[in-house]
Amino acid sequence: MDLRFTPEEEAFRAEVRQFLKEKLPSRISGKVRTGKRLTKQDAEEWHAILHERGWLATHWPKEYGGTGWSVAQAHIFDVETALAHAPRLVPFGLSMLGPVLIKYGSEAQKRHYLPRILDGTDWWCQGYSEPGAGSDLASLKTSAVRGTDADGDHYIVNGQKTWTTLGQYADMIFCLVRTSTEGKKQEGISFLLIDMKTPGVEVRPIILLDGEHEVNEVFFTDVRVPAENLVGEENKGWTYAKYLLTYERTNIAGVGASMAAFAHLKQIAQSQRKNGRPLAEDPLFAARLARVEIDLENMKTTNLRVLASAGEGMAAMELTAMLKIRGTEIRQEITSLARRALGPYAQPFVSEALDEGFNGEPIGPEYAAPASAHYFNNRKLSIYGGSNEVQREIITKALLEL
């Protein structure tokens, strides 16, 4: 047993820190640190900086422009960027579609799409969930019917996707569509790449409980998609979708994000006063802080254990599911404590205060402005990516082998 990183890995950590010090714009990290709203341009600027350094696709092999890093390196990078308040990269192209194309895509698809993910030409979004297919994703109904016309082979897509994160910015969407209604519901699903500018694609915003436009509904009405946009084989999409869901292990626990959020929470608890003393010294609040801190310390090691086992190629569905459940619980608890720490000042909410360049007088302490909105927004963590209840079933079914 040795919990330490190797000297080479520590040297890599130092290199990442130096890079962040030099290249991460303080304008952007300042927004992340203070919980301000990030724009599409902020995301694209950081994306371009990482692309220039070749540090964008941490999970891709080198031959496709990835970093070729070990899992330990990818983990170090995740943690250090989070601690430096770098924006979270939009995962749909880099972490989700990229690995699927690398494993199942045609040569033409790889040559066309992978460079465009890296250089930011295509902003991807994900077309999985439907109004009638949430946790039961395989019951999806959006249909794709194959046909031929003067312009060649194609699919005509009809249906509706929902919860499409940042779809309002997207150039492309990867979709699970139904190409067959025969046999098991998982067997008639295909994986299709669709240009958002195609006639018949319509994006409508869904405003979430914090007032933000983060997700969308996407409607497809007789949308013509060239047949070459099919990934892999027809009716094999479920296999690719599952691969995508289990691919990204290193960051599913969000350890880096939790470490940064906890450090921020501790500062708030030191600044807030109760009974003439820092709130951090109030016995009940201190106990809440200690519980989540210990849970996070344990999670760091659990996460590293899973990474180490993944390095040996061990498939560990139940461990990945555990990271998702407890990782999201920890992140939610931290935002919950940040809200509690503010006392009555958790209530005021001036949405404009989250915009860059807001010059208004803060209401209460400055750090209060985004706290409750973040708390409410983070309720999504235990719902998306397979709800935590679905993850619990995955764990037990894997352990029971029933």
Binding site: L3, A72, N298, T302, I325, E393
Partner: protein, 369 residues
């Protein structure tokens, strides 16, 4: 990063595991646990012969281990088999003696299995507070005598020698706590032994002008280190028990049928089982962190040890209660090993500090930064 045991450690743990499977099955364990002595000199001799005691001591103390992960690998096996033999006393008292120095002969006897040690620190009023020592030490000619009471000392009656803490000076705090060896047969020492609910025996140790040999005049650092090692041991004993409970409960969910299907098909039980599995993995991580920190500097060691004992206390209760619940009525019976694992796991929470104690201590250590 490397999360596997070293070759030597794994071999000794495997040897111990095999021995316990063959020679310490649950029936044997119950017989030993319920016997008048509450432990087995024959088993102890055989286990010492295997090297299990020696692996708890560092090389410069005459052993061939003593690292946090040596303790981990062995106590994990002891936990699985619900061993009631006096290992915790050997570890804690032996470690303090080794750190104090000048005890080579005695440590040699401990490692060979010929001398049994107990560690008597906690008192009826102390409620896990390590500085709460009211037992007094008085000079008497060339030596010392001790007067006071020590509570719930594991396998106190088995011991040949008892390492006892007592105040030389001061009324409270870390200063002025000495460590002394007291011969179990000496006049002035009496033990009221009793069975424990989770097996084996404990005892109330009463000292009335009991003659004692000074081991360390300023003993608090040694006590804290011994307790840290004891906590690492208990955490890994708990991990071993939790794995056994998980294995048995999964078996039961697979085989027990109600309403025509294995009860593992029911979502309510699937969710409970998932929580149990998740808590066990977090507990194992906490135990790894503590074992890793045992040889480190004091602050890091104590924070990691308190974090682990808190986690184990919390997770242990969840795992024990859920294992019984998911087994239903049969989980309530003496006949099933599961119920004994559940009892031991729960009682580990009452040794060397419970979850509340260690949560508060974790916070206090952080604020003192």
């Amino acid at each position: 990063m490397d999360f596997s045991y070293s070759e030597d450690r794994r071999m000794l743990a495997d040897t111990l595991g095999r021995y316990l499977q063959q020679r310490y099955p649950i029936e044997t364990r119950h017989r030993i646990s319920g016997s008048e002595a509450g432990w087995s000199p024959e088993q102890w001799a055989a286990l010492a012969e295997l090297g299990v005691v020696g692996a708890l001591f560092a090389e410069d103390a005459g052993g061939f281990g003593g690292d946090g992960f040596d303790i981990a690998a062995l106590f994990e096996q002891l936990g699985k088999a619900l061993v009631v033999e006096p290992f915790l006393g050997a570890l804690m008292a032996g470690r303090a003696l080794a750190s104090a120095g000048g005890q080579e002969e005695l440590i040699g006897e401990i490692i060979s299995g010929s001398t049994i040690l107990a560690f008597a620190h906690e008192e009826p009023q102390s409620h896990y507070d390590l500085t709460e020592v009211a037992t007094r030490a008085e000079r008497s000619g060339d030596g010392w005598t001790l007067t006071g009471a020590k509570s719930v000392v594991p396998q106190a009656e088995a011991a040949d020698q008892i390492l006892v803490s007592a105040r030389i000076g001061g009324a409270s705090g870390e200063q002025g706590i000495g460590l002394f060896l007291v011969d179990a047969k000496s006049s002035g020492l009496s033990i009221r032994g009793y069975p424990l609910i989770d097996g084996g025996r404990g005892g109330e140790v009463t000292l009335r002008d009991a003659p004692a040999t000074l081991v360390a005049e300023d003993g608090f650092a040694l006590i804290e280190d011994a307790v840290a090692a004891g906590i690492v041991a208990l955490c890994w004993e708990a991990v071993g028990i939790m794995d056994a409970l998980k294995r048995d409960t999964l078996d039961y969910l697979r085989t027990r049928k109600q309403f025509g299907v294995p009860i593992g098909k029911f979502q309510a039980l699937q969710h409970r089982m998932a929580t149990v599995a998740l808590e066990i993995e977090q507990a194992r991580s906490a135990a790894i962190n503590a074992a890793d920190a045992l040889g480190g500097d004091r602050k890091r060691r104590e924070r990691a040890v308190s974090a682990a004992k808190y986690t184990i206390g919390r997770a242990g209760t969840i795992v024990a209660e859920e294992a019984i619940q998911m087994h239903g009525g049969i989980g309530m019976t003496w006949e099933l090993p599961l119920s004994h694992h559940a009892k031991r796991l729960t009682m580990i929470g009452h040794q060397l500090g419970d979850e509340d104690h260690h949560l508060a201590r974790f916070t206090a250590l952080g604020l003192a930064a």
